[in-house]
């Protein structure tokens, strides 16, 4: 019986060998995958062992971790509440973080490669230092103004967004989306409470969790005329050139006539480009668009930033909040030739043209900045846990150059005229030169129109100080004028307190 006993011994060794090999597979090969798995609650507990760094703007802490008595040692709180919710996002106990909490997670949590020296020091001293701090470019005053004014708009719009940039650097001065939400319950350690809060927000009709400033694409209406005007200026038309206009224009292939917002606007057969922008002459721009053709229009829009799918706003060049792509849509017939009806409607920012509020602000910023469009960013500086060492200071850089200095100057003159003499009067600021363009965009056949304003402010020396885009969704009549007023208020606040660069 000894021979089979020995063989049984071999079988046992084989069985244990299988166990051993399998444990190696799980604990060595798959260990990292399991350790960081979404289903692994240990990730959350470990995450709360170290104090997460602050997110601050202008010396005010907007996201701070407070010590608790519970198993999770720190509670993430957002003193700014709903005001900064779409910039900061939130860091839930279970589930995925959003906003800059997600984008800058490594640095905030202290696990970033940049903080390796700190971690090594901790290993020696046995301390657990906090995560790093993230300083934002936001102007607290501009952000407050944008949030309060949007919420208190006098046309009763419940949805909308505002974004303000420093045209010279691309630093975001304000970024607001309404309706907003209070991120504090979402970061609660009581995960049932957090889940309930999330589900409530998720089901709200206004979709408050959505960042409209970066993620919502809407027909831009007349604000798109700046792009068309830029294309015209590069194709032999000057701001004083007379272009065909009229009270009504029916493109060759379509029975739908294009009319102006009011009969008083450019009823004459010819207006200068300057006046067409100032008055927001629909027929003039529709004809201009048909004359320029789809390729020229689309190319110009692309040069301003349309169609870009991978833009992010956060740390310069290091990810951040993703931005939806703005689109020009199709302006061609099925056979590939230009479709005059589509062209005409697209030229006044309708049809399939879609734009994010950020894209609108970037157009205004490029015009204000002599044709140079700076890459937008939110993170000004990364500060070590000890608050003395600076790890990463934003170094503003040009994203693209959509128009030449000369074309930019002409566009600037026309937009200034639109604010001083035309549709954007509400945006005027004493002592500053303000330029801009309103837009009223049809949303759906039976819904009120969206009100847009894109614009900029120049100081007395002609240097750009702020570029802004405000949109009030389904604001109805007076929406664009109210948007212009809000834009003026935001720029005024940004001038008073420029925020960090």
């Amino acid at each position: 019986m000894n021979a089979p006993l020995r063989r049984v011994g071999v079988v046992v060794i084989v069985l244990f060998g299988l166990l051993f090999a399998n444990l190696n597979w799980i604990q060595a090969y798959k260990a990292d995958e399991y350790r960081t798995s979404d289903y692994n609650g240990r990730v959350q507990v470990a995450k709360y062992d170290r104090k997460r760094g602050n997110i601050e703007a202008g010396g005010t802490a907007l996201a701070v971790s407070k010590e608790t008595d519970g198993e999770l040692k720190y509670l993430r709180t957002y003193p700014g509440g709903a005001k900064y919710a779409h910039v900061l996002g939130y860091e839930p106990v279970n589930g995925a973080a959003t906003g800059l909490e997600r984008a800058e997670n490594d640095f905030l949590a202290g696990t970033s490669d940049q903080l390796i020296v700190n971690r090594l020091r901790d290993m020696v001293t046995g301390d657990t230092t906090a995560g790093g701090n993230v300083l934002l470019t936001l102007s607290k005053r501009a952000q407050d103004t944008a949030y309060d004014e949007l919420r208190g708009n006098n046309v009763g719009a419940t949805k909308g967004a505002a974004i303000a940039l420093d045209p010279a650097t691309g630093a975001v001065q304000a970024l607001v989306s309404i309706p907003s939400f209070d991120p504090n319950p979402l970061a609660s350690h009581d995960t049932d409470e957090a889940t309930a809060a999330y589900n409530r927000l998720e089901q709200e009709a206004g979709r408050p969790l959505r960042n409209r400033a970066l993620g919502e694409v809407l027909p831009p209406g007349s604000t798109f005329k700046i792009v068309v005007a830029a294309a015209a200026l590069e194709n032999g038309i000057t701001k004083e050139t007379n272009i065909p206009a009229g009270s009504s224009y029916t493109p060759p292939t379509s029975g739908e006539p294009i009319r102006n917002a009011a009969p008083s606007i450019c009823p004459e057969s010819q207006v200068t480009l300057m006046n067409a922008v100032t008055e927001s002459c629909n027929t003039g721009f529709a004809k201009l668009g048909v004359q320029l053709g789809p390729d020229v229009l689309k190319e110009k829009a692309r040069q301003f930033g349309f169609e870009q799918e991978d833009l992010t706003v956060g740390r310069l060049g290091e990810g951040g909040l993703s931005v939806a792509a703005s689109r020009t849509g199709s302006m061609e017939n099925p056979d590939g030739g230009p479709d005059p009806a589509a062209l005409a409607q697209s030229s006044i920012g309708q049809r399939d043209v879609r734009m994010t509020p950020l894209q609108g602000a970037m157009i205004a910023a490029a015009v204000a900045n002599g044709g140079s469009q700076m890459r937008p960013y939110l993170v000004r500086q990364l500060l070590a846990p000890d608050r003395t060492t600076v790890y990463d200071t934003a170094n503003p850089r040009e994203l693209r150059r959509p128009v030449s200095n000369q074309v930019a100057a002409d566009l600037r003159d026309m937009m200034v005229s639109a604010v001083e003499n035309g549709t954007g009067r509400n945006a005027r600021i004493n002592g500053y030169t303000v330029g801009g363009k309103t837009g009223t965009a049809q949303s759906a056949p039976d819904r009120p129109d969206h009100g847009w304003f894109i614009g900029f402010a120049l100081d007395s020396e002609g240097k750009p100080v702020s570029a802004v885009c405000v949109v009030l969704e389904e604001a109805g009549s007076g929406g664009s004028a109210e948007a212009a007023r809000i834009a003026g208020q935001i720029m005024r606040a940004a001038i008073a307190e420029p925020g960090g660069r």
Partner: protein, 495 residues
Amino acid sequence: MTAAATPASSPATAGERPGVRMARSRRNAELSLLLLAMALVAAYGAMVEANVLDTVTPGFWVPAATLTAVFLGMHLVIRFLAPFADPALLPAVALLNGLGVGFLRRLDLANAAPEERADLAIFAGTGGRQLAWTLISVVLAGGLLALMRDHRSISRYAYTLGLAGIVLVMLPAVLPASISEINGAKLWVRIGSFSIQPGEFAKLALLVFFAYYLVRKREVLSLASHRFLGIDFPRGRDLGPVLVVWVISLLVLVFEKDLGTSLLYFGMFVATVYIATERVSWLLIGLVLFFGGAYLAYVLGEAVGGPFANFYLRAQIWLDPFAQPYDDGYQLVQGLLALGSGGLFGAGPGGGQPLMLPEVQNDFIFAGIGEEIGLFGLSALLVIYLLIVERGLRAALAVRDSFGKLLAGGLAFTLALQVFVIVGGISKLIPLTGQTTPFLSAGGSSLMANWLLIAVLLRVSDAGRRPVDGAGGKVTRPSGPPEQLHGAPTEVIKP
């Protein structure tokens, strides 16, 4: 009896039996190994407190010292009643048992409110209960050693034990689910707050019966009538008992909803038949029957559901636990995540998050421990199990009688198979089934049954290593079939 401790004057017959060659009792080696094991248990307790409480309480050594006292008692019993028993068995088992108690106490600490942790009573909670169960189990094991001076004496009760075994196996299946079902497996008999797993004891009783039956029938079963592919297959009518056990094990699978127990009984039986007959054909038949049956149950579970649905579900979870990570696959997923989080070195005793694991004090204790001691620690635990099993097999090799060989070999293999089933289950090597992890899991039934198993192995190893003609020593004469038949195949009748 004490005279047997005297070294044998002349090395007996030949070197073919390792026990005979070195007729030293090695009790002092056992004692030092035991103390080393207990030092490890004490160190483990201190590390747990350092990690969980941030301080080591003055009383950290009390559980380890209590265990040491209990195991020293067992050591003395062995010294006097089984002086030639294998010296590695007790320390190895004591280490596992001690670490189990330590880990359960670690769970108690985690379960307690932070402010109550520092002065948590040593004998409270799961850990304290396990300590008490250890005492009872060791007393039982010592008692068995005292009552059973010769392992062959239990063969007298073989039929009684066999009947008792079958009753114990079937009991939970027959009883209503309210009494016998816990977590989907009908393995229990619950009376009030007290519950036992009769299956744990059944495997011991059945194995005694198998060993006795097979020793008597091995000639018949060894008869081969068909030769196919170079393998001798038994005659059809000799398949009877195997088929009966196969059917019983499948019934267990279906009605107790437990693949592990089924695999355990069947594997146990096939292994003992193979050891008894030396016929590979029995292994093949066994494997084909078991896997065929399991596959059939899987197919039926998919097509018909009913009693087979549970097995089908378990197989589905095994194939892809992450498909339903929060309901059906939750246990297995959490087990894998715990093991993965432990990685190579583990989070350190007391440094993990074992409470995230469901059933961490029972089925998933190996994963819970694995998170804290890592791959290296778990490998060491596997080696300790392997050591116990190999020592059991060695006792089987050394003992002279067939009944002892079958008994020790079968028990050792059963222990190995149980470790394989549960550790393989929680690590997704095989479908997960509810088995206890020997000596680690919380619970009296498992601990008692496994300590009784160890007592039998100690007894058999004592018989095997005892010098044949020691001065005054009792000369053990083999009682089974004549010696010369052991190595040689029995007469083969070919048609």
